[in-house]
Every structure is written in C-alpha cells, then in structure tokens.
C-alpha cells in the first residue's frame, strides 16, 4: 500500500452476532449519557446530581411514576399505530392530525351528549367516534396515494395543520366556553376516563394494543400483505394482493389508533379539547417506532424511556433551575447515538495505519 491510501475507508459488515449488536447499542447509550454529562457541565450543573434529580423526579416517587406513565401512553399508542404503516413503507407522519381529529370527535360527544346517556355508553361512543375520525383523516391521503400516487409524506403532514386549524377555530368559535375565553369548557365527569391505579385506564388499552399489534403484524393475512407490500409493490401484485385496498386499510387502521390515542389524551388527561392536544406526540412516536425497529414490545421500553426523560427534565427545572430545554438536548443526543450506532452495526471503518500494521504482522 502506498501513502495515498485513503485514511479511513468503509466496509460493509456481514451478519453480526446478536450479543455484539446489543453491546454496541448499550455502548451507544453509555456514550450518550457521557455526552449528556458534558452538556450539564457546560450548563453549569453537577452532572451526577443532574442525572440523580432526573431519576428521582421521574421514578423516585409515586406521582412521578404516574406522570411518566401518563406521558408514555400516547407515545406507545401512536408508535403502535405507525408500525404497520412503516412496515408497509407508507410514511404516515400525520399522527398529529389523526390524534387531533380523534380528540375532536370524542370531544363533540363529551360536550354535547353527556347528559343524554350513561357514562359507560358515552365513553364507548366517544372512543368509536374518535377512531372513525382518526381513520377518516388517514383515509384521505391514503386514497390519493393509492389512486393517483401522490406523496403520502407531504400529504399526511399537511393534514396535520388542517386538523389543528379546525380545532383552533372550534376553540375560538362554535365550541368556545365563556365568550372571549378562547377555551372549550371542561368535560363533564361522565366523559372522563376512569382511573386505574392512579392513571387513566388508557394504559390498559395500549398494553392490549401491544399484543394485538404483535399478532396482527406477524400472524395474520393482513400482516403478511403489509410486509410483502412494504418490500415490493410488484411482488404484492404478483401474489394477487389488492395494493390499493391494503394501502388504504392499513392507513385507516393507523389513523383509527391515533384517533383513539387522541380520545385518551382529551378525556383521560386534559379533560377538555384544545388545538395542541397532540403536542408533538405524532412526531415523537416516529422515533419510538424506529428505535424499537417496529417491535411492539420494544416500544413499551422506548416510550417509557422517552417519558422518563421528559418528566426528569421538568424535575430539573424545578429542583436545579436548569432549563428543561437542556433535557431536550440530552434526548436528542440519546436518539442520535442510538440511531447512529446502527451505522457501526452495518459498517466497519478501516484505518490506514492499522492495515499496514496488520500486513507486517502477517
């Protein structure tokens, strides 16, 4: 080899052992924590103390744990909703809009029908309405994609703003509570999801959804269709699958679950409706989905991790008066490291001097 050999080259790796893959992921997480320490130090806080506070405020006491679960539920729910879409290579980034429309549909019954039926029936109707509207919001871009090949990424994204705009209009207009308040009134107690072990019962629902999604994606005909279509549309057609139908159906399922999450958040957490009901969950859930590589069980872990980080961040702000945005930076670093380490799982670097040394040894 002469001196002009490139300093670093990339080479694709063959199959790596499972244990090593997990070791690399663990190392990436550790690296992220270390980088986080540096960031805390720059921000003028004691890194150890900062991490301690984050853990204490999120997992150290009961109220913290409840808050964590409350945050994790929508992340997990929407992560599950997106999984079949992503398996199909259908980039549904319209979770925000589907959540918002679901919340809106549920709120309609919560606000105007609460006195006409018993609580259980009301809650059921709210759930069904939320799923229907979430599905509708996903149906529109899906049908355009299936019929005319429009780009679902842009289309679902745009649908988000329309949904948020509609709720903002309701908030300031037809559904406004006190005139001029720009606020929709709180729901009647009958329209609020009951609590189980201190958290609204949505958590049971999403755990059931985990099992459902796992079976649906791996053992059913639908799941098989989705997997084949995701790999190749031509193969799907060849196998006699109805590509349009599968696309639209999967998108609607995704939208329905997003809508259901919207209902849980509006009824279980906020107990009212406002334009920011989705609050970025539709986007953060994309991260949940990818980090767990579309595995529903892994999504439980990832969504909890993200929820701990965000709760820990608010703890930092109150206890150490470190701005909560620092935690966003730490979250970003963790995600970067976790996603970045996949690169090292797939490729290895070859350095110039190492190679020369290797040759001498041989």
């Amino acid at each position: 080899m002469n001196e002009k050999t490139p300093l670093i080259r990339l080479a694709k790796r063959e199959d790596m052992k499972k244990s090593r893959i997990w070791l690399i992921r663990l190392a990436a997480f550790a690296a992220a924590i270390l980088i986080g320490m540096i960031i805390f130090a720059i921000a003028g806080a004691n890194p150890i103390k900062a991490y301690g506070t984050m853990i204490a405020s999120s997992l150290g006491k009961k109220s913290g744990v409840r808050q964590v679960i409350k945050n994790a539920v929508p992340l997990l729910g929407v992560g599950l909703a997106l999984a079949p879409c992503f398996r199909m290579r259908y980039w549904n980034i319209g979770g925000e809009g589907q959540i918002t429309m679901g919340a809106m549909a549920a709120s309609y019954f919560a606000l105007f029908w609460y006195d006409k039926m018993p609580s259980a029936l009301l809650l059921l109707i709210m759930a069904v309405a939320a799923m229907a509207f979430g599905a509708l919001w996903a149906f529109i871009p899906a049908v355009f994609k299936a019929r005319w090949g429009t780009n679902e990424t842009l289309f679902t994204l745009m649908m988000n703003y329309i949904a948020i705009g509609i709720v903002a209009w309701l908030q300031g207009g037809p559904w406004e509570g006190k005139p001029g308040s720009q606020i929709i009134p709180m729901f009647d107690a009958k329209a609020v999801l009951p609590k189980v072990m201190g958290v609204h019962c949505g958590w049971i629902l999403v755990l059931l959804l985990v099992g459902f999604m796992f079976v649906y994606m791996n053992y059913t005909k639908h799941g098989y269709e989705i997997a084949v279509l995701g790999e190749s549309e031509n193969t799907a057609r060849y196998a006699g699958m109805n590509v349009r139908k599968v696309t639209v159906r999967t998108a609607m399922l995704s939208g329905a679950i997003c809508g259901l999450v919207g209902y849980m958040v509006a009824s279980g957490v906020n107990q009212t409706l406002y334009a920011d009901v989705a609050g970025g969950v539709g986007f953060t859930a994309i991260t949940v989905c990818w980090l767990s590589q579309l595995n529903p069980f892994a999504m439980i872990v990832i969504s909890l991790l993200l929820a701990v980080l965000s709760k820990g961040a608010s703890g930092l702000q109150t206890a150490l008066s470190i701005p909560a945005s620092i935690s966003d930076i730490i979250t970003g670093v963790i995600l970067l490291c976790m996603l970045g380490c996949e690169f090292f799982i797939n490729y290895k670097l070859i350095f110039r001097h190492k190679e020369a040394a290797g040759k001498e040894a041989a």
């Binding site: 080899m1 002469n2 002009k4 050999t5 490139p6 080259r9 080479a11 694709k12 790796r13 063959e14 199959d15 053992y219 059913t220 005909k221 639908h222 799941g223 098989y224 269709e225 997997a227 084949v228 790999e231 190749s232 031509n234 193969t235 057609r237 060849y238 196998a239 006699g240 070859i350 190679e355 040759k359």
Partner: protein, 510 residues
Amino acid sequence: MAHAVELKNITKRFGHVVANDKVDLYVDNGVIMSLLGENGSGKTTLMNMLAGIYYPDEGQIFVNGKEVSIRSPKDAYENGIGMIHQHFKLIDVFTAAQNVALGIEDGKYDLKKVAAGVKEISDKYGFGIDPNKKIYEMSVSEKQTVEIIKVLYRGANILILDEPTAVLTPQETSKLFTILKAMREDGKAIILITHKLNEVMEVSDVVAVLRKGQHIRTVRTAETDPQQLTEMMVGRAVTLNIDRMDPVNPKPRLTVAGLTCTDSEGVSKLEDVGFIAYGGEILGIAGIAGSGQKELLEAIAGLRHISSGSIIYTPEGKNPQELVGKTPMEIKDAGVALAFVPEDRLGMGLVGGMGMTENMMLRTWNKGRGIFVNRKEPEKVAEQVYEFLEVVTPSIDYPVRKLSGGNVQKVLVGREIASSPSVLMSAYAVRGLDINTSYIIYNLMEGQKAKGVAVIFVGEDLDVLLQLADRILVLCDGKVSGIVDARTTTKEEVGLLMTQVGGAAGKGAK
C-alpha cells in the same frame, strides 16, 4: 515496453467474502483482452478497482509501468482508464455532446469544442454519431457508443467494457466488435468483461479467466477453444448440452389472439399479439430487451390491463376458458404459473427480507378461512424445494436476499414448479446464473415439458433458445415479428426478426 495496465497481488474483500484474491493481471497496448468468468467470479469488482469505484484492500496498480493510486473515477480518467458500465450513465434530455461535456473540469463550458471533438472521434472510428442528437432519440447501441465516446474524449487509453453485448442484437454486436478492433489498431488497450464464449473467441487476442475471485490463467485466444475455457471457468469438465426431445403429444393449451396492451401513460406495449402455446412444448420468446416480453407474460398472468384481445386457456381434459378479465389469483389457481426474474432478481415474485417459507406463502397466503395465515403448507413446500433443488441456505427461514443469485432463482422457479402448473411461464430464469445452475434450470424446463406442461421461456441468450425451445416467437416493438422452428432456424434469422416487424415476410414494415 511497459504494460498499459498491470495489477499486482490485488485483493478485495466484502465482509467475509473475498471477491478478488491476489490477482495478477496485465494488458498491453493494441490488445483486446477478454475477462472471462462466471457470475460472481469477481470480474466486475476487479475492473471497478481500475475505474476508481472500489479501492483494493491489498495490492498495487501500475499504469504504463508507474504505480498509481486510483481513489475515484476522476483519478481513473487522469490515468487514461475509462469504463463503460452495463447500465448507461447518460442524461436522456441532453445531446451526445452535452453528455460528453458533463463532468469535464477544464475551466469553461465550450459545447462547440466538445461537439467538434465528438464528431472527430466519431469519424475516426466510424461511430456515425451525431453530436447534437438527444439521448432519448437514440437506440441502445447508439447510447452505448456515446458512452464509449465519452471515455475516449477524456483521453482514455485503456477501455473497460462491462458485458457490452448484453443489450445488443447480433447485428449490433458485430458492429461493436468492428469498432473495438479499430480501436485496437489505434493502440488502445481494451478489456472486455463477458461470460459469452463465442464473443471471446470472435474478438479477443488474449483471455484472462477468473474463478471464485482468483486469476486462473491468461491464454492466447488462438491457442484455446471454448471447451478448455469452460473448464477453466468452472474448474472441471462439464458437458453443455440440453437433451431436447420432440414435443410430446402437443395440444393447444394457450391460444392468444389480438392481444393489445398500453401502459398507464398510454404508450402501446403489445400490439395484436397472437400465438398458440402447446402442452408438451417449449415456446421460446426472443427479442431485444424491452420489446414487450415482460408485458406479454404479465398480461397472461392477469397483472396488466388488456385493451383488447383474448387468451383462451384449455386445461388438460377440461373446457376452454377465457383468462382475460380474471384476477391474477384466479389465473394462478387455474394452473398458469409465472416465474419472472427481474433485473434485480428480487422485487417481483420474491420478497428479499423473508425466508423461503414466507416466500412460498406468496402463493398460498390467501388460502383457508380465518384471519391468520397458514404456515404449515408453505413450510412443507419450502422443505421440498430445499431438498429437491439443493438450495444452499443456512435454514429455510434465512432471508432469501442473502442467498446467492442461483439459489434465489431456484427458490422462485422451484415454487412455481411445486404448484404443478399446466402452463409455466418463465422469464430470464437463468439471469446471472453460473453455467452449471443454468443447465439445472434448463433441464427443469425440459422436465416440465416431458410432463405435458406448456412452457413459455423468455430468454436473453439466443444460443440457448435455439437449443432449448421447440419454436421461437420473436417480439419486436410489442409486435410478433415471426414464429420460427427452433430446430431449423439460424441465429441470423432470429436476429433479423428482432429488429424488423414482419421479418422475412414483410421487410421494412416497421
């Protein structure tokens, strides 16, 4: 005199796979060298290192006796090395001259100068290329010529052509060879990557044979013969013949009449195609790439919208039925199987990320009641194909994408045969396969014929079609230009039909 280019001890690995193992090789000026080897023997990888696409793990490259380091295609050009890739890298809406001008960094963009240069090169070697013609108006062979001019314009002295004849008709091929010989007279060193023996014999001065990444030997073409080259390529003596038997009790199985198709943009893909495929017969389909072969098979399989025409299918001992209007699933269930191997091998008929079992499931996933898929049946079929065709895989659940090309194709063809079809359509079934595996597949087709199946075989290699098929249907521009008896026709006749609708009957009827 120093060699035009010399490789010393070149090794390239991809993970655990050694693509090139300590290769020593040289070419002189004024020589055409064939680089011969089966698919996967490392021919293209080796040449890509000369072209600056890969960087060798070990070894040295000398150009005109001077050691060089080629880290990018630009380095390659600076050393006078130009490669013409299998897939053209041209911009359709640009003219020939504009394409040549692309990527040349000598200060200013002087199209007139480039056009004059292109004209000069074209005249010198007899290319006959108009510098101002747009690429999309050109034939495949003209596009290839533009690629050659592109590297010549940049002063390439060493030309590498990666399987240049794969896309050409026999007539275009002989024209290309005339050009290559003219360049040889001009003192250029030419390396021709190929696996076609007759081309090697026809055009090259020396042959370098690669096998499993190793350079086996370089011999003078005049001192060797195809049989010896094959043995060097495969590593042992092989008999290359197909036991073609006479059609067994042929009965019309598939009667196609007036079949016309257009694609979603309204471009006509098939026009008034008519033929009869008999049970117990192999009907070969020939034509230049993109003449409607794929569309024809897709139309029969129900995967394409048919504007007009009819496809009457007569299963053994049953009444004739019309296939037009049926769904792909119904057609499949009736006994018409399609094994199509696309250019990327996967992508139609197989799912790369899935194992053999799940790929077998593509045929049966919809069977049975309930919402769950049945894995037991496909698992059995996968076991059968695995054993019967000796598929090399760690397990039947190992992703087929990671299998070698031959094994991928065995999975695909094996699945279709396992469904015991009465019409078996196969397209490019041996695409990229080594010689031995190719013959396994040919013999599978032969075996289906013996069972009374109507086999429709779309092939790229005319020599094989002439040996394997009973009759050959030639497509040209979406129309049937002739149906000939494979036993009596010649390559030249088929070649002419490939470029002329009507062929001998109505010349110039295009």
